[in-house]
């Protein structure tokens, strides 16, 4: 058969073979390294332990700030990091709000501004939240404050990780 009758010329066929094999070898080299680099973005965060923060008796209807330490495992470095929560009782229910503003991550304070009683106030951009943590329309935050997982054991309050609502 003549060369012209082939749809793929010999030269093209050989160059496809070379590109295929070369590409396969290059992929074999590169892909473990790329997965290695992507690892932090692909691995899900681990479960967090519950930490004792306060006792039931200390809680009131008014949000109070409680500071506590959590053990944070950051790759090869494990350390105790300070955390805080605004905790109050609502009948039988216990609500523990994260103090991290959902706008840009500053720290909110209960009644942090004289003009806004009964609200959480963020000093950075005047973000405000209701007592239950819901953001007030017209202020910068776009979603409610995160709530901690709460557990009560033997009259003590334990907090887990803050969850997005």
């Amino acid at each position: 058969m003549e060369e012209k009758k082939h749809k793929v010329s010999r030269r093209q066929f050989l160059s496809y073979c070379l590109m295929g094999v070369g590409g396969f070898m290059a992929a074999g080299m590169i892909s473990p390294m790329v997965r290695f680099a992507l690892d932090p973005a692909l691995e899900a965060g681990g479960e967090s332990d519950f930490v004792q923060v306060t006792t039931l008796d200390d809680l009131t209807e008014e949000p109070q700030r409680f500071d506590f330490q959590v053990e944070v495992e950051d790759a090869w470095y494990t350390s105790d990091q300070p955390r805080s929560a605004w905790i109050y009782r609502e009948g039988d229910e216990i609500v523990a709000l994260s103090p991290t503003c959902t706008h840009l991550g500053c720290t909110v304070n209960w009644e942090g501004h004289d003009d806004h009683p009964n609200q959480f106030y963020c000093p950075c951009h005047h973000g405000r939240f209701e007592k239950d943590g819901v953001n007030i329309a017209g202020t910068p935050p776009t979603r409610p404050l995160d709530v901690y997982e709460v557990e009560v054991r033997d009259g003590s309050v334990y907090l887990g990780r803050p969850m997005q609502r």
Binding site: M29, I30, P32, M33, F36, A37, D39, A75, W76, Y77
Partner: protein
């Protein structure tokens, strides 16, 4: 699609002659294993370069996790090898490649020696090659310390003792390499800097010179 992108760029920048000049060169019959199988000995230089590319790539990725600090170096190596997905592969590539590059380089040197390729007019390329040999040994020496385990530490202690045994300048050389009297924090940062910046920089410069010279002079003739 790719062809169109290429044509678009080529029309404006005329890139074809650039890569043609790099890609098109004569491969004489006596160095082509398809003609004489024994010509595979001419592959060792290219293989050395191939392994060097792997070393550079895997090394770049390893620095995403490694820290050159006496407290955390070992922990970070342990973490990247055992906790990060494919960490054992990437570190393994760098670990085994380090030995392989020395082996390939040695075989390449033997081939050049026994084919007499170092003779006039290629003496300068031999000199550059020997300089690269020393740079590679330096990379091996400095890289060996970085995991900061017992083997790494005491290998470096011995290596620096050897440096100290040099007459007159020995003490100075050791202090310079170790970054002081103690083989510790400053030694590790120093070796890291030398391993990832200084020596690779020197290596790339020498490699460029090596390749430009071989293209200019061509491969030496048959035996």
């Amino acid at each position: 699609m790719l062809q169109k992108i290429y044509d678009w760029v080529d029309e404006r920048l005329d890139i074809t002659p650039m890569w043609r000049d790099v890609a098109d060169h004569e491969v004489p019959e006596h160095v082509n294993p398809a003609h004489h199988f024994s010509a595979f000995v001419y592959c060792f230089g290219g293989l050395t370069f191939f392994v060097t590319v792997i070393q550079i790539l895997s090394g770049m990725f390893l620095t995403m996790y490694y820290v050159p600090d006496i407290i955390h170096a070992y922990e970070s190596v342990y973490f990247l090898q055992n906790e990060v997905t494919h960490g054992v592969i990437v570190r393994g590539m760098h670990h085994w490649g380090a030995s392989l590059v020395i082996v390939m380089m040695f075989l390449h040197t033997l081939r050049v020696f026994f084919t007499g390729s170092y003779k006039k007019p290629r003496e300068l390329n031999w000199v550059v090659g020997v300089l690269m040999f020393f740079v590679m040994l330096g990379l091996g020496f400095t890289g060996y310390l970085l995991p900061w385990d017992m083997k790494a530490y005491f290998a470096t202690v011995v290596g620096l003792e050897i440096a100290e045994s040099v007459p007159v300048v020995g003490g100075f050389a050791k202090a310079l390499l170790a970054g002081g009297e103690i083989i510790g924090a400053q030694t590790l940062t120093r070796f890291f800097a030398i391993h990832v910046f200084f020596l690779p920089g020197a290596l790339l410069g020498l490699l460029a010179a090596h390749f430009i010279m071989i293209r200019k002079q061509g491969i030496s003739g048959p035996l």
